[in-house]
C-alpha cells in the first residue's frame, strides 16, 4: 500500500542538494512551513534559489534561512514588509540576488510549470519597466508579454490535513501558492497538521490531489511564524 509518510522533517529534507531551487508555500506568515524551513536550516544546503511571495519576516522561517546564508537568489513578488530586515540588509550588500515577478504572473508561471505549459502571454507589466527585455505581442489589438514556466526541484508546503496518498487540504488563506507549488516541483515535501487514513478526506474536498505530493511529515502542533515573531524568537 502506498504510504508517503516520512518519520521526521529532518528525514524529509535530508537529500536537498546545494544549489537546489526550492519553492516555499505561504503568503507572508500565513501557510509558511516553519518546521520544514528550520529543518532545511539544520540540514545546511547552500546556494539555494528560493521562490516565495515574500522574503520572510523577523529572524525565523524563511528570513532565518536567508540570514543563515543558504540562499543565493530570491524569486518573489514583494521582497519587503514592515517586519523583514534580513533580506533587505543582504540585498543592499549585494550578497543575494533578486528577481521580482508580479504576484499573478508568479502564480501563473508556477501553475504553467505544473501543467506542462512552457510559456503563456499576459497583459501584466505591459508598458512598465518590468516588461523590459520581455517578448511582446498583440492579440486582438491588445499588447501582452510572454512569460515562461517556473519550475523547482523541491517544494516545502504546509497543509492542514493529509492522507497517506498525499491528498491535501489547507486552512483558509494559508492555501495561497501551495497547490500550485505542489504541481511545479520535482519533489514536494509536506508538513501536515493532521494525518488521516485513506478515505479521511472526502474526494470532493481534496484541494491538492496526491499525485502532486511525494513526502508527508506529521507536525501536529506547528508553530506559526507570527507567534514566533511576537515572542521575539530567532532560529537557529
Amino acid at each position: 500500500m502506498i504510504d508517503k509518510k516520512y518519520p521526521s522533517v529532518a528525514a524529509a529534507v535530508a537529500d536537498i542538494p546545494d544549489g537546489a531551487t526550492v519553492m516555499i508555500g505561504g503568503f507572508g506568515a500565513s501557510g509558511s512551513p516553519v518546521e520544514l524551513i528550520h529543518a532545511l536550516i539544520d540540514h545546511g544546503a547552500t546556494g539555494l534559489t528560493v521562490i516565495n511571495n515574500n522574503t520572510g519576516n523577523g529572524e525565523v522561517g524563511l528570513a532565518a534561512l536567508i540570514g543563515n546564508g543558504q540562499v543565493s537568489k530570491m524569486i518573489c513578488s514583494f521582497p519587503r514588509s514592515s517586519q523583514s530586515k534580513v533580506f533587505p540588509a543582504l540585498y543592499r550588500e549585494g550578497r543575494i540576488e533578486l528577481e521580482v515577478v508580479p504576484q499573478g504572473t508568479l502564480a501563473e508561471r508556477i501553475r504553467a510549470a505544473g501543467a506542462g505549459i512552457p510559456a503563456f502571454y499576459t497583459p501584466t507589466t505591459v508598458g512598465t519597466i518590468l516588461a523590459e527585455g520581455k517578448e511582446q505581442r498583440d492579440f486582438n489589438g491588445r499588447a501582452y508579454v510572454l512569460e515562461p514556466w517556473l519550475k523547482a526541484d523541491i517544494a516545502l508546503i504546509k497543509s492542514e490535513v493529509a492522507d497517506p496518498l498525499g491528498n491535501l487540504t489547507f486552512n483558509k488563506t494559508a492555501r495561497n501558492f501551495c497547490p500550485l507549488m505542489c504541481m511545479a516541483a520535482t519533489t514536494t515535501i509536506v508538513q501536515t497538521k493532521k494525518f488521516v487514513a485513506r478515505g479521511g478526506i472526502d474526494p470532493e474536498h481534496v484541494i491538492t490531489p496526491g499525485i502532486f505530493v511525494n513526502r508527508i511529515v506529521e507536525v501536529p502542533d506547528p508553530v506559526h511564524e507570527d507567534t514566533l515573531i511576537a515572542e521575539g524568537r530567532s532560529y537557529p
Binding site: G28, P102, R111, I129, L180
Partner: protein, 214 residues
Amino acid sequence: MSTGWTREQMAARAAQDIPDGSYVNLGIGIPELVTRFVPAGREFIYHTENGMLGMGPPPEEAERDLDLMNAGKKYVTALPGAAYFHHADSFSMIRGGHIDVCVLGTMQVAANGDIANWSTGAPGAIPAVGGAMDLVQGVKRIYVITQHTTKTGEPKLVETCSYPLTGPGVVSRIFTNLAVVDVTPDGFRVAELAPGVTFEEVQQNTGAPVLPPN
C-alpha cells in the same frame, strides 16, 4: 483655501460610484475605508488577492485565525458565502476581468490614465510590486483615492508620471480631497468639487490642464 473632503469623505464618495453587487478589490490605506461607507441598499463583495472572496472585517483578537489574512497581511474574517481559492484562481479573477472595481492609492496619476504607485525608482530602493500590475491591467474599472497633492504640496495628478509606471492608461476616475476627477480622452476633467473648493484651486494643485465640469 478649503482642504475639502476628509479621508472618510473621499472613501464615502468613491463608494457612491460602485454599483450594487460589485466585486471589489481595495488597496491598502484610504481605499480600505470604503467598506465603512457602502450606500444603503447596496452590497459589495470583497476580493483579496491571497485567495478569498467574501472578506469581512477584522476579527476580535480572541477569534483570530492566524491563517486568515488579507493581501495587506492583516487578520480578517470570512462572511457567510465566502470562498477560499489558490493564487492562480485568485489572479484569474483579476486578469480575466471578473473583478468589477479596484480602488487604489497612488503616488502619481497622469492625464492619460497612467498610474505609478509601486516604486519611486530611487537608486537602492528594493523593488516590490506585489499584485499591483496585475490589478491595474485586469480589473474592469480602476479608481484611485488620494490626497490631491503630496505632503510637500507637489501635485499627484500630473501630465506625465515621473515615477515608474504600474500600468499605462488604466485609471478612469480619481477621488481626491479637492474633487472627483475623471480621466477622459481630453485629459483630466473635474466631475465634482468638494464643498468650498473652487475649480481654480483644483487647477492650481494639478500638474496638468484640468477641464471644468461638463
